[in-house]
């Protein structure tokens, strides 16, 4: 299936307007692979025919489905295991010390795709009941894709999805097998609030977070939009909160509102007034 330059421009514009994500030149193959099932199921002969229908503006559900089809939902449990070990052993350990009085943590998994990273977080807390006894852990996970959020809420994973990154002991502890599908245990599903929400929208409740995971999402944004989103994240993260990016991502050159967390190398923290004083 070939997608004309005109259709490519329209679809790339639709994707960026709805999600902030750019369809970079190297990822245009996604138009062909992502849209082919949609064209078949809706009976369109070509991407141009699909674009014409979207441009008529009467079918919002179709436009939603196109955006969903173009998003990259690649994710896995414990994606980059060393990063999650760092979060657990250093980042959460510090937050636990600092929040000992209130015993409450709010964590936002921003751009959670089909939920594996949010459930990874939930398992990290649930696997240490003694350590977190008496704590209220509020995990909210958002993604722009309706399909991804529905899948995340259902907590149903295929043979391939469940195996990727998830140790077997956790798999049998936290998932039940229903024929060929592995289903997250009710306790795990209840530990995460999933919401369909773009990174360009307002932050979810409670609006202030001790830790934010925003992994492998911002690399698809334009540099100006990326800077804008970093600014929004900084506005809702606690002054001593931690930001966790994807293993190949950094704040360097992308924003001036987060810096490397010297106590937890690999994580980031918002710029504090004393940082500005030091830099002056």
């Amino acid at each position: 299936m070939e997608v004309s330059d005109g259709a490519t421009r329209v679809l790339a514009g639709l994707l960026e307007a709805r999600t902030g994500q750019q369809l970079q030149v190297g990822r245009r193959w996604r138009l062909e692979t992502g849209l082919a099932p949609l064209l078949r199921s809706h009976g369109y002969a070509s991407a141009d025919a699909l674009v014409s229908h979207i441009q008529a503006g009467h079918d919002h559900a179709l436009a939603d489905a196109v955006v969903d089809a173009l998003l990259n939902n690649e994710t896995s449990f414990y994606r980059d295991q060393a990063s999650f070990a760092l979060l657990k052993d250093k980042g959460l350990a510090r937050l636990q010390r600092e929040r000992g009085a209130g015993r409450r943590l709010a964590i936002w998994c921003a751009g959670c795709s089909t939920g594996q990273e949010a459930y990874t977080l939930a398992m990290m807390f649930a696997d240490e009941p003694a350590r977190w006894e008496g704590w209220t852990i509020d995990i909210v996970a958002t993604d722009v894709s309706r399909g991804a959020i529905e899948a995340a809420r259902a907590g149903r994973y295929s043979h391939f999805e469940i195996q990727r990154g998830l140790p077997m002991a956790k798999m049998v502890r936290w998932f039940d097998k229903e024929e060929d599908v592995w289903v997250a245990a009710p306790a795990l599903r209840q530990a995460v609030r999933f919401q369909q929400r773009s990174l360009l929208d307002a932050a979810p409740h409670p609006g202030r977070f001790d830790a934010i995971l925003c992994r492998n999402v911002l690399l698809y944004f334009s540099s100006s939009l990326r800077r804008q989103v970093f600014g929004r994240l900084a506005s809702v993260i606690a002054p001593d909160g931690v930001l966790m990016l994807g293993a190949g991502e950094t704040v360097i050159g992308n924003t001036e509102v987060f810096v490397s967390d010297f106590e937890c190398r690999g994580l980031y923290r918002p710029i504090l007034p004393e940082d500005a004083w030091r830099a002056a």
């Binding site: 896995s76 414990y78 295991q81 043979h159 391939f160 195996q163 990727r164 990154g165 140790p167 077997m168 002991a169 798999m171 049998v172 039940d176 097998k177």
Partner: protein, 121 residues
Amino acid sequence: MKTCLVVDDSKVIRKVARHILETLDFSVAEAGDGKEALVYCEATPPDVVLLDWNMPVMSGMEFLRALGEAELSRRPKVVFCTTENGIGHIRAAIEAGADEYVMKPFDRETLYSKLQIVGLA
């Protein structure tokens, strides 16, 4: 270079596993059943054993028990690799001492993540 012993009575599975493991920079040896694998481990213990469940001569579970009793210079990590993927089988593998479990069919990313979990990638 890390070493992996692939134990499976299917030549096709051994070939597929070898290909994936070699792309992950492992040196690969093969055995067609548990008994052959035990002899290999006693002579040159690999870093990890990728172990099928159902095999002639000596099954994967029998191999795992024998490995536990064998006097080796070092104990390899054991990753069960099988189509037996019910929760009961997986629990039995954990109790028998397996370090990880991968369900067939699997792809490179899955095997890589399992090798990471046992500290070998």
